[in-house]
Subunit: 356 residues, 2 copies
C-alpha cells in the first residue's frame, strides 16, 4: 500500500519538525509493506503575507483529491489584528470535515502520585464557538460584540461515539500488555458546563450520554465533569483519567492543560480525524523565539505521524514509531532543550530513527 | 461603623462554612471600631425544591435595600436537567451588577520552583456566555442549540480598570513588606482567544489594552496570553503571574486551575464586587459527599470574608483575618482533611479566632 501524504509545514518551527515527520515515514521498515509519496503544500501566516490567503485553494484541493493523510506543522498568529487573516487550521478542519481532534497525553514514567498519566482528549473539531459567526454593533455605551456557540446533536453524537471507540481500542491495547497498566475498565469522562449553558452544553451532555449508552459501549464506565472542575481534577489526579470528550473550546483548553502535566508541549501530538482522512499536527505552536535554531523538539510531530497512521488503519506502523519515541525518552540521552537536554532537532530525530 | 451583612449559606457545606464566616466577623477586635449585624437569606437548590425558586425576590431585595455586603456559601446543581432551575449565584451577580469576580490564589510556602504563588484572577462577572441567551431548533439532522457569547466594550473596560487597580494595590502592599516578595513591578496579563474569536475576544483584548494604557497604570507591565496557553503557563510557572484579567468563562476555568495549584479548593476565596457592594464566596462547591460531617475547610470562607471587607474599604480588618489564617496554615497544627489534616471545621475556625 502506498499512502500519499500532504506536508504543510506552515510557519516557524513547523518548517523544522515537518521534515522530521517525513523522515520517520521514509525510515519505516520495509517489512511493513508500506510506501509513502509526499506533496508539499502551503498554508500559514507567511503564506498569507505572500499570497493574500492563509489557506490556498490548491492546498485544500490537493488534500481532497490526491492525499490519504497529511502533516500540519504550526502557524503564527499576527500580534495585532490583521484584516482578512484567519487561522488556516481551523478552516482546514471544517473544509475537510475532520470532526475529531484526538490528543493523547502520556508519561512514560510515573507522575508525582506514582501512576503514569495516560489519557486522551477527544475534542469536537467543527463547531462550538469555532463556527466563528460573530458580529459587532455600535451601541449607546460603546461596542458590543457577539459570537455564536453552536452545538448540534449530530456532531456531539459523532464525537462521543469516537470517544467510546477509542476507549475500547485503548482497553484492547492494555489487555495485551497488562503489566504496564493498572486500569481495568475503559472510561469516558464527558466535559461540559451545562449548569450554566443548559441548552447548548446540556445538549452535548445528553447526546453524549445517549451515544455512550449504546450496547457496544456496555463495558465503558461513563462519568461527567463540569469543565472548571475538570481542569481542577486534571491537575489533582491526572492518572485517574482515560478518555475525556469535550466540545471544541473546552477541548482546546483542556489539552493544553494536560500537556502542561507531561513537562513540555513539545511532546504532545494530535490528529484531526474525519472519515478516511487524518491530519497529524503537533500541539505546540510556531515558536518564533526558537525558529531556525534546530532545537525544536520533534517528538510531538513524530507522535502525530504515528497517530495519523493509526487513524489510517496502520496500527503496526504506528506502534513502531511510538516504541522508538518512548525508548528515546526513557534512555533520556538525546533530549531537546525544552526537556532539559542539549540535543538538536536532528540529533533527537536520528536517535529515534535508529530505534525503528 | 456598622456593616449589615446578608448570610446566604445555600446548600450542602455552605451551611457549615457560612456560620464560620459570621463567627470571624463577630470576633474581630473592638479596636477596629467595626460592628456587624446579620440577616439570614435563602437561595439554592433546596430552596428551589421548597419554594419553586432558587433565588427568592426577598433575598435580592434585602441585599439591595438593607445590606452593605454578603456571604454566599455554595449551591448544588441537580444531576439531571430540572425545568425552571437556574443557578442563583449567576443571577445574583447580574441582579446586583457585581461586575468583578476577584479570586486570589496564594501559597504561604514556596512552590516546586521555590517561589510562592501569589496571583489573583479578575474575572468579568456579568456577560460572555453567562448572559444565558440560548435557543434550540429541531433541524433535519437533529437538534441544534445556540448560545450567545456577548462581550461589551463597557464591561471589558470596567473589569480591566479594576484589574489595573488591584495590581497597583498589591504592589503597594508588597512595597510595605519587601522581604516577602521578589516581584518589583505590578503586572496584568490579559487572557483571550482572539486568534479564533477576532470580534468578541478581539474587543476584550483591545479594550483591555486601552484601559490599561491609562496614565495611572504607567507602572503596570501589561502582557497577554491566549487562554489555552494561559492554562499551560499557569501550570508551568504560576509564580510568574500577578493579576490575570479574563472574560467570564475563561476566568471561571482559570480560577479552578489556579486553585488546583495550591493544594485544595478549600483554600480559595472569591469576592463578587460591584460599586459599593461585595459578596464573599468560597470557590468550592456544596460538596454533598462531606456535608453534615463538620469536616469542610472553612479557610476559603474566612478568606472570602476578608476579601469582602477589603472591597468594603476595611483593609485593616481584612489584614487581621488574612494574618490569622496564614498563621493557622503555617503552623499546620489544625488542618482539615482536604489539607491532609485531622481537624474539624470547628477546630480550624477556633484556631483562627484565637489568632485574631
Ligand atoms: C491556533 C488555534 C486556532 C488552535 C485552536 O484553537 O484550535 C490551537 O490552539 C490548537 O489547539 O490547535
Ligand atoms: C456554580 C457555577 C454557576 C459557578 C460559575 O460558573 O460561575 C461556579 O463555577 C463559580 O465559579 O462560581
Amino acid at each position: 500500500r502506498t499512502l500519499r501524504i500532504g506536508l504543510i509545514p506552515g510557519d516557524g518551527i513547523g518548517r523544522e519538525v515537518i521534515p522530521a515527520g517525513r523522515r520517520v515515514l521514509e525510515a519505516l521498515p520495509s517489512s511493513l509493506n508500506l510506501k509513502f509519496s509526499f506533496v508539499d503544500l502551503e498554508a500559514g501566516y507567511d503564506c498569507f503575507q505572500k499570497t493574500g490567503t492563509a489557506l490556498p485553494d490548491k492546498t485544500v484541493d490537493t488534500l481532497k483529491k490526491e492525499c490519504d493523510g497529511a502533516l500540519f506543522g504550526a502557524v503564527s498568529s499576527p500580534s495585532t489584528k490583521v484584516a482578512g487573516y484567519s487561522s488556516p487550521i481551523v478552516a482546514l478542519r471544517k473544509k475537510l470535515d475532520l470532526y475529531a481532534n484526538v490528543r493523547p497525553v502520556k508519561t512514560t514514567i510515573g507522575s508525582s502520585n506514582g501512576n503514569p498519566i495516560d489519557l486522551v482528549i477527544v475534542r469536537e473539531n467543527t463547531e462550538d464557538l469555532y463556527v466563528k459567526e460573530e458580529k459587532t454593533i455600535e451601541g449607546p455605551n460603546g461596542k458590543v460584540a457577539e459570537a455564536i456557540k453552536r452545538i448540534s446533536e449530530n456532531a456531539s453524537s459523532r464525537i462521543s461515539t469516537i470517544a467510546g471507540e477509542i476507549a475500547l481500542r485503548r482497553q484492547k491495547i492494555r489487555a495485551a500488555a497488562p503489566a504496564t497498566s493498572t486500569r481495568d475498565q475503559p472510561m469516558v469522562t464527558i466535559t461540559h458546563k451545562s449548569n450554566v449553558l443548559s441548552q447548548t452544553d446540556g445538549l452535548f451532555r445528553e447526546t453524549a450520554r445517549k451515544a455512550l449508552a449504546a450496547e457496544k459501549f456496555s463495558s465503558v464506565l461513563v462519568e461527567e465533569q463540569i469543565v472548571d472542575s475538570m481542569v481542577y481534577k486534571l491537575f489533582r489526579q491526572p492518572e485517574y483519567y482515560d478518555v475525556i470528550v469535550a466540545p471544541n473550546l473546552y477541548g482546546d483548553i483542556l489539552s493544553d492543560g494536560a500537556a502542561a502535566l507531561v513537562g513540555s508541549l513539545g511532546l504532545v501530538p494530535s490528529a484531526n480525524v474525519g472519515d478516511g482522512f487524518a491530519i497529524g499536527e503537533p500541539c505546540h505552536g510556531s515558536a518564533p523565539d526558537i525558529e531556525g535554531k534546530n532545537i525544536a523538539n520533534p517528538i510531538a510531530t513524530l507522535r502525530s505521524v504515528a497517530l495519523m497512521l493509526e487513524f489510517l488503519g496502520e496500527a503496526n506502523a504506528a506502534a513502531k514509531i511510538y516504541t522508538a519515541v518512548d525508548a528515546n525518552l526513557d534512555e533520556a540521552k538525546f533530549l531537546s532543550p525544552d526537556m532539559g537536554g542539549k540535543a538538536s532537532t536532528t540529533e533527537v530525530l536520528e536517535d529515534v530513527l535508529k530505534r525503528l
